[in-house]
């Protein structure tokens, strides 16, 4: 009885950890931020958007957002929310290696330094947000 319980618990742990990893990789946890209002304090104005899918892209999006906003907006904040989308630039000759690669048939990199950098950026943005709201 005790042996069977240990076996069941081990399988549950195994399945849960693999599922968590797969969900993390497929961006399930990042989706939680999709509806989160992210503010970008540029000391002159505050931009709010709800169109952010992943944290990696959010930096590019907010950068473009800042560039695209007319100067007048920086003085008088617009009460109507406008979402700007980054124009897709197709440049086949400059195609770079994707972030995801099918791994070797033997092993796989589970966490890469890029993940750590991304997590750090996320943590930084969260702490900046908290500071701004305080």
């Amino acid at each position: 009885m005790k042996g069977s319980l240990i076996k069941v618990l081990t399988i549950i742990l195994f399945v849960c950890l693999i599922t968590t990893f797969v969900c993390y990789r497929s961006g399930v946890f990042e989706k939680k931020e999709e509806n989160k209002v992210i503010s970008q304090d540029t000391s002159q104005f505050q931009v709010k958007t709800t169109d952010i899918i992943s944290s990696t892209k959010s930096i590019i999006l907010t950068d473009d957002l800042i560039k695209n906003i007319p100067k007048r907006d920086s003085i008088i904040p617009d009460s109507t929310k406008i979402n700007y989308k980054t124009p897709e630039v197709k440049s086949p000759k400059l195609r770079k290696i994707p972030d995801s690669l099918i791994s070797s048939s033997k092993s796989s990199l589970i966490v890469s330094p890029k993940d750590i950098e991304r997590i750090q950026r996320e943590l930084d943005s969260v702490s900046k947000d908290t500071t701004n709201h305080d």
């Binding site: 797969v22 195609r95 995801s100 690669l101 791994s103 070797s104 033997k106 092993s107 330094p113 750090q120």
Partner: protein, 268 residues
């Protein structure tokens, strides 16, 4: 771009802890070889391969694939890429996965039959004790060959692999699982998805033992190399002399045999 060394160390440590947490309980509760301990012989050697893969070689592999990908994108007509991209997304996913499996099946089979490719691949097969850590025993040039081949269809059609990141993650972790010291038959699912008991036979002493497919054994079924006795192989490894240490394992495949005989005196 070179990542911050601290981030590399953190990523390596997190991966090691996470993988230990997934696989060690399974290896303890469902062992394929009951007498095999966690810190079995050559554990340190495999640990060196693990560290090497994360700290040193992953950047080299990525750099090579980046170079390869750029070259491919310059020779594949854009009209061809656009034609493939115009198909429904699900077809593109199936095409990429099936062609990848087909390529890696034959690529892997060639590694076992062509001596030049076997030189590098035998490093992986030199493990006499299989577990999740032994999965990482892989020569960096073998990694470039394997990862290049498996990603070739995606490179050719410019398929965004990020869109199937979950599937890729599952394949990656399953590739480690099939090496683990676990025996937990999957029943009828075994036809669709590989299991340790199948891959352990691939690591049998016989160089042409079969089960060459990546994660799903479908290709082995199709091409008649599927092997699945209802017991574990007696011994793992190869019938060849291999270096005992990390440096030797890395150097031996790239040196001519005569030169290796001289060098090995100093390395071993």
């Amino acid at each position: 771009m070179i990542s911050d060394p601290l981030n590399i160390i953190i990523a390596t440590a997190i991966s090691f802890v996470f993988l230990s947490l997934i696989f060690i309980p399974m290896e303890k509760v469902f062992p394929a070889k009951e007498n095999q301990s966690t810190f079995r012989p050559k554990w340190i050697l495999d640990f060196c391969f693990f560290i090497g893969q994360y700290v040193l070689w992953s950047s080299l592999v990525l750099w090579s694939l980046n170079y390869f990908s750029e070259y491919l994108s310059s020779i594949i007509p854009i009209s061809f890429q656009e034609k493939i991209k115009s198909q429904p997304f699900i077809f593109q996913v199936l095409e990429v996965l099936l062609i990848s499996d087909f390529l890696i099946y034959w690529g892997h089979r060639l590694q076992h039959s062509i001596d030049f490719l076997w030189r590098f691949h035998k490093v992986h097969h030199s493990a006499q004790h299989l577990d999740w850590l032994a999965a990482h025993r892989e020569h960096p040039l073998d990694s470039i060959y394997t990862i290049g081949l498996i990603n070739l269809p995606a490179f050719i059609i410019g398929f965004p692999l990020e869109s199937i990141a979950g599937i890729i993650a599952f394949r990656g972790i399953w590739a480690i699982y099939i090496h683990s010291n676990v025996r937990l038959p999957l029943g009828p699912l075994r036809v669709l998805i590989g299991a340790p008991e199948l891959h352990h036979w691939h690591h049998d002493l016989n160089r042409r033992a079969g089960n060459y497919a990546n994660v799903s054994p479908i290709m082995d079924k199709l091409f008649g190399t599927y092997v699945c006795p209802n017991h574990e192989p007696e011994k793992f490894g190869i019938n060849e002399e291999t270096p005992n240490n990390y440096l030797g394992q890395l150097i031996e495949p790239i040196l001519p045999k005569k030169l290796w005989i001289i060098v090995k005196k100093y390395i071993n």
